[in-house]
Subunit: 115 residues, 2 copies
Amino acid sequence: MGFKAVHYTEVKVEEVKEEGFEGITVRWLISKEDGAENFAMRCFEVKPGGKTALHSHNWEHEVFVLNGKGKVRCNSIVKEIKPGYVVFIPANCPHCFENSGEEVLRFLCLIPYKK
Amino acid sequence: MGFKAVHYTEVKVEEVKEEGFEGITVRWLISKEDGAENFAMRCFEVKPGGKTALHSHNWEHEVFVLNGKGKVRCNSIVKEIKPGYVVFIPANCPHCFENSGEEVLRFLCLIPYKK
């Protein structure tokens, strides 16, 4: 519950088993377990051909793309993403991500704790 | 104030002019202007030899290193950082970053709005 500085690959990786999520893992890089009370940093990896379900919730996403290429949908808008892309998905906006390339699509996705 | 997907270099870059900060620019990638009410995503670039002042405040930092190499200090602990490093700096912990390499040190640094 204090200062932390580690490589992201040192953080435990978990498979995402929610319905409609295919080929996806997550690492909770910074969370309440570290003492982060306001928001959490997760790193997702989507295998080639993998995708998240089109889903919605009452909290926002702040995303930064690290590797690979893919598509992000929010309502009816679809945008292509690649490394260096920043994505803001407002609360209550139906959204999904898919890997449209041949490498792993890796991105940071941060969410608030307070809602 | 809605869905946003842009490359980080499309976001306006500003020089950080605070005392003790040398060779540093910032881009506010996701902020209140985008409708982000809970936390903000900034991207900092520190030139070779550049550094931030040793400073402290009552909010935390969640950091992800994108490029270059450097050192981060929190209280008396100093750690080396490079791409892929995740750093959590708790609130009220005196801290600073410095570029110890020959390339730009680039990192995301997220902060909460609610305090």
